[in-house]
């Protein structure tokens, strides 16, 4: 058994390693090292914790074995295109763990036998915060995961596994909540209101997750109501910590809040939500640190909270919107939005052969990927075409990535890295924009709003002021898209109808394969 001082010193070392982790993770050259030193810090923290007292290792071994197995299999098998779902899901587990630790500490503190935990005011308030933030993170992340994996409020026809997850999770929440409420009520018979409140929250969560639409009437009202209910319940938990049911009702209403907050957010706003949930999972861990009086939880949690907030700010800035606007505002065409048919009168459509001829003479080609590239998994063929142009015609090839392209921060970079695109060839938006007039051919694949010149020209449009990649200023712009359907902002894109723009209506991957075939024959 280690003395408390040694344990605390080890925790400080772990905290330093976490700080180094984040510091090194923000520079490309040191990133790998940074991640590993973080893992080492975690190992130290876990090892000294296990040696810190007289612990019974039976449950610990079971838990660690199951968790490691699931975590490792998921991490090693996930495809890069599914990375946003994965990150979303992991955030949720972080939130879930915080709820459970805070809840368990509360139960232990109420027991006469346990001496390690004491229900002080700090502990009770922190437990409430852990419960609410943890629950918002857990259920919010599940919604984000469901939307990214397209089984919540996106598609009507689902694959079998999607149906199993969707209905299974809803059923588990409703059944679990109701069963626990009934058991508690049957045991003490004096918590009827609380039992009903828990059943209602479980029903709400379960049913909202089955809803086929992302918004519904009365949504805002319910959002505020559940926030107020959760806070009120928090006060009650502080006053009556001995009531176990109360804590779960709090978690239930926190969950309703989490579901509603994320349900209406979609498309291009997804990176903001993912970054925000990342921040919440850190803050939940931080609150849990206050529950069990542990410095290393507070430090690690705050670091994650801060990094999540920084990413959220970067994402908001890249869309020229405030966080409040993303969370509460609606995105969509306004009364001033011009009619799509009018805008698209002069659209010119093209073919693989024509594009190949253009590319033959081009000296500089820039690819601009968007979410569409991820959907059609076109990153490998995009790279093939890029390499081919370099080898065959000696073309200068670059890839330009908008900060919010895709469904999570850095989504496109991950996909292009997976396809072995050189890091030097990835350019940031500002860099591309400075030299865009010298670009002979700009190929936009699956991006829409982030290349819409309206953001520059029309101060009344919903995306006014959003920084965009100025592909319209390239000598020729080719847009690969399946149809003229609007992007997330719901407004037409005049780029498609410009004189120097050619549309290639096709699925991303197929389009590139056709172009590659045509280039081979040139």
């Amino acid at each position: 058994m280690l003395s408390q001082n040694i344990v605390n010193i080890a925790y400080v070392i772990a905290a330093i390693f976490f700080i180094m982790n984040l510091k090194w993770l923000s520079h490309p050259r040191t990133a790998v090292k940074g991640n590993r030193i973080g893992a080492l810090g975690m190992l130290i923290a876990i090892a000294v914790t296990l040696l810190s007292g007289q612990l019974d290792y039976k449950l610990i071994i079971i838990g660690v074995a199951i968790g490691s197995l699931i975590g490792a299999v998921a991490a090693l098998r996930v495809s890069m295109t599914s990375m946003p779902e994965m990150v979303g899901l992991f955030n949720g587990f972080g939130g879930g763990a915080s709820i459970m630790v805070a809840g368990a500490a509360l139960v232990a503190a109420m027991s006469a036998l346990t001496t390690s935990y004491e229900a002080t005011m700090q502990m009770k308030v922190a437990t409430v915060l852990s419960g609410i933030i943890g629950s918002v993170t857990f259920f919010g992340s599940y919604v984000a995961f469901g939307k990214l994996a397209e089984f919540i409020a996106v598609k009507w026809k689902l694959y079998l596994w999607q149906n199993i997850v969707k209905f299974g999770f809803s059923f588990a929440v409703i059944a679990g909540g109701s069963w626990y409420a009934y058991a508690e009520y049957a045991a003490s018979n004096d918590n009827l209101f609380l039992a009903i409140a828990l059943v209602i929250s479980a029903l709400l969560i379960g049913l909202l997750l089955l809803n086929k639409k992302a918004t519904f009437p009365g949504m805002n009202l319910l959002k505020w109501a559940s926030a107020i209910i959760a806070i009120t319940l928090g006060v009650f938990v502080v006053l009556h910590p001995e009531n176990g049911l109360l804590f779960w009702v709090l978690v239930g209403w926190g969950g309703v809040l989490g579901v509603i907050l994320t349900l209406s957010i979609g498309g291009a706003d997804m990176p903001v939500v993912i970054a925000l949930l990342n921040s919440y999972s850190g803050l939940a861990a931080c609150a849990t640190g206050f529950v069990i009086n542990n410095n290393v939880l507070i430090i690690a949690g705050s670091l994650v909270g801060a990094s999540g907030i920084i990413l959220t700010k970067i994402m908001c800035k890249a869309m020229n919107r405030s966080l409040a606007n993303v969370l509460f505002g609606t995105m969509g065409p306004t009364a001033d939005t011009p009619d799509a048919d009018e805008v698209y009168k002069t659209v010119k459509s093209t073919s693989g052969d024509e594009i190949a001829m253009l590319l033959e003479t081009a000296q500089k080609v820039v690819f601009v990927p968007g979410y569409g590239m991820a959907v059609s998994q076109a990153q490998h063929v995009v790279r093939d075409l890029g390499n081919m142009l370099e080898e065959k015609f000696g073309t200068e090839v670059e890839y330009s990535v908008h900060p919010v392209a895709g469904r999570m921060p850095g989504h496109m970079n991950v996909l292009l890295a997976e396809a072995n695109v050189d890091y030097d060839k990835l350019k940031e938006m500002d860099e591309t924009n400075m030299t865009i007039s010298q670009v002979d051919v700009c190929i936009v694949v699956g991006a829409n709003d982030v290349v819409n010149p309206v953001a520059r020209t029309d101060p009344k449009s919903p995306i006014a002021g959003m920084p965009i990649i100025d592909v319209d200023k390239a000598k020729t712009c080719i847009v690969i898209k399946r149809s003229l359907a609007p992007g997330f902002a719901g407004i037409p894109n005049p780029l498609f109808a410009m004189d120097n723009t050619l549309m290639f209506f096709n699925d991303g991957k197929k389009a590139f394969m056709e172009i590659i075939e045509a280039v081979k024959e040139v």
Partner: protein
Amino acid sequence: MDSLVMLLTVFVLAIFVGFEVITKVPPTLHTPLMSGSNAISGITVIGALLLAGQMENPQLARMMALVAVIFATINVVGGFLVTDRMLKMFKKK
């Protein structure tokens, strides 16, 4: 010093350190930063291990802690591994 005040001091300072340390992140590292920091938020595993291991704790508390151990370990193991996998992809050129 009162323990709450001390913990709050640590909290405030750590938030500042977080903001200062992560100043300018290149877009390429946005995703690894998220998955990596997510692994760190699995630090709740510490609390979970203690609560699951202490024999004096009520059975209910230990069972809840077991669930927390599983969740947090998924977070830690999965988070660090997936970040490493991603970063290696960036590096191999």
